[in-house]
Symmetry: D2
Subunit: 259 residues, 4 copies
């Protein structure tokens, strides 16, 4: 919305005649770090119908995107927090990674991603990555309160080839207007992991560090509960980090609802 002005263009609907080349664009720098945490604590943050599957390892990824065609060549940054989970619905079963929260530093894909895909997206201020003394340092904040830092260092090159990524599971939720506390939409949606349009050009591995900073309500009055839930997960063991340069990517038109 607004819809009465006609369809908006966006990642899944480029205007006619505009050049789009999903195999070349966008360019993407991905910096990720992982840590082992407590299974019970993690499971407490899964919605109904989900169970933890495999080791309780949390992945935090920063994706710095540039040259995005549906933004006429502009870019933005996406932070994703996920962990392994399975879903059993009335009809469908699926395993993969549960996408717990996404932060982005541009409101437009936050809006379309929430509405069209069911992405659990929130807004954050995310500066460009710092690259210093052999490390990649990534951070995110909101109106002056920095709530997340990750650092990946000690990098060495590995093969760009990798096993296909897991399917991604998430929860699309829209509250019911006037019936406060009730849902109008409550759907589990799935993104197939396979992305035929994405090519990895360079992959490095190293050590990773993740730090969520606990927030008072007044620091992050719209999302202290999210950040504090993640900040409250114990870091039992770091599980490494990666830096990946890639190009291209699909438009998520293969997103589907599970029942």
């Amino acid at each position: 919305m607004p819809t009465h002005f006609g369809p908006a263009s966006g990642p899944r609907q480029m205007p006619d005649g505009m050049p789009a080349d999903p195999a070349s664009n966008p360019r993407r720098l991905s910096v990720a770090a992982r840590f082992l945490t407590d299974a019970a604590r993690l499971e407490a943050h899964l919605p109904e119908g989900f169970t933890l599957s495999g080791e309780p390892v949390v992945t935090v990824e920063f994706h710095y995107l540039t040259g995005i065609d549906w933004l006429a060549g502009r870019g933005y940054t996406m932070v994703q927090v996920s962990w392994p989970a399975s879903f059993a619905g009335r009809e469908d079963k699926a395993s993969g990674r549960f996408l717990a929260v996404i932060w982005e530093n541009l409101a437009d894909p936050v809006i379309t991603g929430r509405d069209e895909i069911g992405h659990p997206k929130l807004y954050a201020d995310i500066p460009p990555p710092r690259m210093w003394d052999g490390a990649h340092l990534c951070s995110a904040g909101w109106l002056g309160f920095r709530f997340l830092d990750i650092e990946v260092s000690g990098l060495r090159d590995i093969s760009p080839d990798a096993p296909p990524p897991d399917d991604i599971l998430m929860l699309k939720y829209v509250p019911r207007t006037g019936a406060w506390g009730e849902a109008d939409l409550y759907q589990v949606t799935l993104t197939p992991g396979k992305d035929p349009d994405r090519t990895v050009e360079h992959r490095q591995t190293g050590t990773g560090r993740v730090q969520f900073h606990p927030a008072a309500w007044a620091d992050l009055p719209t999302m202290d509960h999210v950040v504090n839930a993640l900040a409250g997960l114990p870091v039992y063991e770091p599980r490494g980090g990666t830096v990946v340069h890639s190009r291209g990517g699909k438009s998520h038109r293969d997103q589907r609802i599970l029942r």
Copy 2:
């Protein structure tokens, strides 16, 4: 969403124990300008079920909010574009102002307003108002492209008392994931005009000027169609402007769905 971390606080759900005083907060500076345009052109931008009611006068309002309790005292700015319309549903009939689009310069109320209320909110960069040489100058842009300017000048004081504002009508629309082009939610919602928590402290009237700047797709790739629809409305006659200082305001818990 994300909802699995528990309820988010926001305009309609302050955390327990936090001070909220809807009769005092927020503080609001409202600058509005109006113009007469073409009835047929305006009616073309109404959704199904709506008809233009009364003169085809477009109102553009900037609301600069400060001291908002649910943001722990921070503020943001809201731009609203509306015109008079009636709605006839299967069960309900209503008249008031149709809220065609809202822009805000903070993503958090964009998200909650869309989801909880059905507000047709988009993001824009909106600087503080310029106050210069007796005029109030307000503008909005997106990543370096300024798409809207209004100016209100020649101000003189009038009584703060005014007839109660019209009810506000809008369309809540959520697309269906995986069924591109179809809707999962399509609801007309209504905000009662009456706001018992708001007190006008100072009201001025003067001349107003509204200018939407036409955009190429590459200037505003996610909302050129909205801005160009408004920029394409002929300005037959300016219909004045107002500057209002007020305090307090309701939380929109009285928002309801029309059928």
Copy 3:
């Protein structure tokens, strides 16, 4: 500079024919807090020729300016840190407040203030003040690191009249190009405290709290030494705070060099 394009307009040179009214503009909200600290520690941060005069009380003031004529009605924010000092030069003697550092959130007055006045100005990100639960909360940061918070609360009205403010002393310093570590200009300059163009409209007093946050070099690589010097001053005792609304202000054309 650049100067070869002709004179720049600015606070001390409005373009011909542009309206300027220093008795009405800008509007100013000033929030200040004070604390007693250690005399020896404070004196260590005074330049040669200066001595501490009176109690070692540090004042931190936030000035939120709006409707500035030389910015065509825009605004910006200024943070000033000062303490009482005397200067004895070869010819001149003066007492007042030593202006140790200024931060501003707009580069243009940083540039002209440094060059024309000798103001020790640096850039900071300074959000609008938070006004919440009876308190004014002001903060400043740099690229995501918040280095200063002040809070003034428990406010009660006092008379807008006040004794004339002290003269302000500062050091204008320009390094010599190519002779690294040497100065090309090293001048003590003075701003007379009296400002005939400024009218205080409302004055409140209350309790004040100042907190500078210590920084690693990587947090504030261009000014960690400034912030850490101030963060290292012990707070022996808070000395209250004020909130002042005023309008008008002089252009500092009365600034002069002491010898």
Copy 4:
């Protein structure tokens, strides 16, 4: 200034023990476009002592810097406008490019570059480059007014090797406090073109387009005269564009004053 807190770290003075590697850092993406203009109009914008040398071709360069060591791995962007000129002083003669103005989107190097080097630096908002449909699109603005666009397209690779760049000439100017309109410092300074620390990794050439947008005083109240002088230069003929990726760069400690 402030200097009484001790020396600031910066491009020419890294703190002890901090890693600095001028042959590797920063990374730099340079996008430049050139146009032939009117000799007399260009000469009118040269300071006393300078004459135009060679063809009246204006170069506008955007340098997007990342991984800057003295910013602990952060980056910023620099825009430079220059044309060929010779200087004849009382003692020194020099030829090269006259650096008419620099805009940067971070205040810290604006301050140190002006003070230490004599760089004619101003602040501008400069978004990341748009890369779209084979073109690089670069723009600069100030508080919502976009004053400069360049576009380089039709790119083909050429040898990274190139003749050494010209020496750069500029004017360091500091006004005299209290003697309004007079100068306290007025020095021509020179940067040797040779940069032993910089390595070009990839060089492309193509067609270039430069557009300065004329500004009303209220659009750019501190620099309308600069932008309008450049916007007033006729574009007789485009003279191509380049896109260069490089790494490393000297600290300008070889900057010197000409007499």
